[in-house]
Symmetry: C2
Subunit: 466 residues, 2 copies
């Protein structure tokens, strides 16, 4: 191929397929790649569905969903033992993050967390006994999301674990989530050693009753003001919960004294919270769950109500498609590794914590959190770019959560499946990264794009019903 | 004056004097003002001194001062009653903010705070008795800065007030400051009603012994990490201390339990701190004081070691000029008023809190604090401009305190008198604003530029000694 056919050099602008661009480059042509993709990847069937969904009926349904999201008032209202409030957690049963999955297909960290939970519950003495239980199909598994719960990473909740109760004061629905254990060797990252089980027992025996009493004295705590304020203080509320945790401590600490607890127990509890920059994450997740659940099940609405991963599959739910899961293989996050870990150690994406992005936080609000870029391995300008990109696939900008660096523009909320398909822009997620082997724990933090395949499947289902 | 002398309209670019520009405008000319000023305002005497100060000797002296500033390690090490640690506060004596001043020239809020302190000390029963004391010259007044102390606004410290002890671990020197009372009807803004005195008594009787015990159990608390972290969380540490206060609560709260205090006392203390977004300010000021004191008294150094105001005069100190004050009339801040207050209510600039700017925080770090712009009546872009402007008059950018919005560039530290004179850029200060009458309290927050007159006088003194 000649690059001087008209007497001077031709510069080729290549729009679309990478292969054509690469051919040009290989031929030595002076080509630039223009980042344009045809709507819906150019697939005719998808384009047809998309066209059908571009109608007033869907717009109206989405307005209802968005209104439910913007008007949600999540409050921390109480504490319970999981089996008291999640009726499905009876007997030998566990809920976990992501879409439903069988043991055989579970990732290392998910299996590790289940081993740990089984030890915690007293079903087994150590990991050597887990195969017996599994073979006998004695443990019943279910997805957190299907039982009004969410949990970060493996997200395993067992019957005797303490849970927060968060209620949407606008609609009355509730969600449940566990305590955040910190980072490193912790159950949710698949570790199950003695220190992990000891911490879980301390949470149940000390932290849980203390919190139960404190929240009952304090009364319902509105989570929205804490979340909004923390965005002003550099949190994006998914991988950075520094300010939100401190704001939460400020609220609850005055109610922790005066119960039947020793000063050293109170002191230890405050130190534990203060020493865990992700302590508030679980409450923020439950706030997201009660919000998105309130926006679920609206006929014809294309608003995405769940993004979540179990370490093997990435699953989404869409308001108008009710409780149905649409899945694709979970990608491995682009990871900034802790010292001692490397490429290849990272498990594919895992955790219900992408409820934060579903709800407009995390990577969607990354422009609010310059500091998070140093945790997930990004840059300030890239963080701003991500938030701007997320505006393109969301239906609302919520001024209740202004982003200082964007001149107090509101965060992007309400992912519209139509916009994701149209633009081929996938939701970006900030995330913790687990070791791919059971028993290991956290290897770092990173960034991942939701796989478009799950969205394609949801669109196809709409094609069958609209 | 004709505006069409050469056949088409002349547009005049006016460089320099406002009067010339104003004349042109008054004559109807199409003039634009170019913001350029000759070095040192073009004054020949000042230019001569400036030239003399542009030498290696001064550069070396300034390096020493900057090194003292950057290597300072301020720690909160203990609590005391003022008279126990400030020997000058014996008998009927008071220290106050700003340069020294006599009662007759004191502003309303300063007089109000002194009345309140005299009531607190039991020297008088109410304000009607203050004139007797004053006439008899029974109260000895002194500047906080001259007795190793700092205090925000009126900054009045009386013998029986509790004070924090902050020590510079690098050099050993100490500074003292009082508790922050919150905003509104508070002593430091000139209020002296019952609620003010009651709060001061609660501080002495409850908060002080609790803090004394807590800090003794906790051990010395490094203030630099809290200050650095809080800049990442949107504080500029002068008019916004939201994050620093929470970070401080996180550190001290675990040590507040287990003493001889009831749970309701502890609960009240935590709530008081948590409810006061400026609670940490005083500790940050004392950190500034021990830092700048360590950089003081270095022969020939032109680094500014104090900016402070007493509500009447604005005073500065310069390292190479030792303990001498250089003053100019205190300007009235450009104020964002609380509801119910208006232009004309504001007192001229008052408080030692400009030690924050002297040390590189406050307005100097305003790019770190988008949210503060909404408190002082500015904008995000203006906040960034202010920090950039302060780089022009400071000798160092301190990477220990990175500013996220400036791609983690360090804050501007170490005001060089030579640069202020050369550029005619005055240090900008974020500040609380007091009502001009005694007894009234806070009217808002605002921004003020230090008066260049004080810097001119310091330069003149250098002219006499170099």
């Amino acid at each position: 191929m000649s690059s001087s056919i008209i007497g001077k050099k031709v510069k080729v602008a290549s729009v679309g397929l990478d292969s054509f661009f690469n051919d040009l480059k290989n031929e030595g042509a002076d080509a630039v790649k223009v980042d344009w993709k045809p709507p819906a990847g150019g697939a005719p069937a998808a384009l047809k569905v998309l066209e059908d969904l571009e109608c007033e009926e869907v717009d109206e349904a989405n307005s209802k969903a968005i209104s439910a999201i913007l008007s949600a008032e999540p409050k921390f209202v109480g504490m319970a033992i999981a089996k008291e409030v999640i009726p499905e957690l009876k007997g030998m049963s566990l809920s976990h993050s992501g879409p439903p999955i069988k043991w055989e297909r579970m990732s290392g960290p998910m299996k590790g967390a289940i081993i740990g939970a089984a030890i915690y519950e007293g079903w087994i003495k150590d990991e050597s006994e887990i195969n017996e239980l599994i073979k006998g199909e004695q443990i019943k598994f279910m997805a957190d999301h299907d039982v009004s719960a969410v949990g970060p990473m493996a997200g395993v909740i067992s019957p005797d674990m303490p849970v927060y109760i968060v209620q949407n004061a606008t609609t009355g629905n509730k969600a449940y989530t566990n305590f955040n254990e910190g980072v490193g060797k912790v159950l949710r990252y698949g570790a199950y050693g003695k220190e992990v089980i000891d911490r879980l027992n301390w949470m149940k025996d000390t932290l849980y009753p203390m919190f139960k009493e404190s929240v009952s004295k304090m009364g319902p705590l509105s989570l929205k003001p804490i979340m909004s304020q923390s965005l002003q203080m550099g949190d994006e509320l998914h991988t950075r919960n520094v300010a939100s945790t401190l704001l939460f401590i400020k609220e609850i600490a005055p109610y922790m004294t005066g119960g039947g607890f020793t000063s050293s127990q109170i002191s230890q509890a405050i130190s534990f919270m203060g020493g865990n920059n992700l302590f508030f994450l679980n409450l923020a997740m439950a706030a997201g769950k009660v919000t998105m659940d309130a926006a679920s099940g609206i006929n014809k609405s294309t608003i995405v109500t769940a993004l979540t991963r179990n370490g093997t599959d990435f699953g989404i739910k869409v308001s108008g498609l009710g409780k149905e899961w649409f899945t694709a293989p979970a990608p491995v996050p682009k990871t900034l590794f802790f010292p001692g870990f490397k490429e290849g150690d990272a498990n594919p994406d895992i955790g219900d914590s992408a409820i934060m992005e579903t709800n407009g936080f995390g990577a969607f609000s990354s422009a609010a959190s310059p500091a998070v870029t140093q945790v997930v391995g990004s840059s300030v300008s890239e963080a701003i770019r991500v938030t701007r990109r997320m505006y393109e696939i969301t239906a609302a900008r919520d001024k209740s959560f202004p982003i200082p660096a964007l001149n107090f523009e509101g965060i992007p909320r309400g992912i519209d499946l139509r916009l994701v398909i149209e633009t081929s822009i996938s939701p970006t997620i900030n995330t913790g990264v687990a070791h791919r082997l059971p028993g290991m724990g956290t290897v770092g933090f990173g960034i991942v794009d939701a796989p478009l395949g799950a969205f394609d499947k949801a669109l196809q289902r709409f094609g069958q019903i609209v």
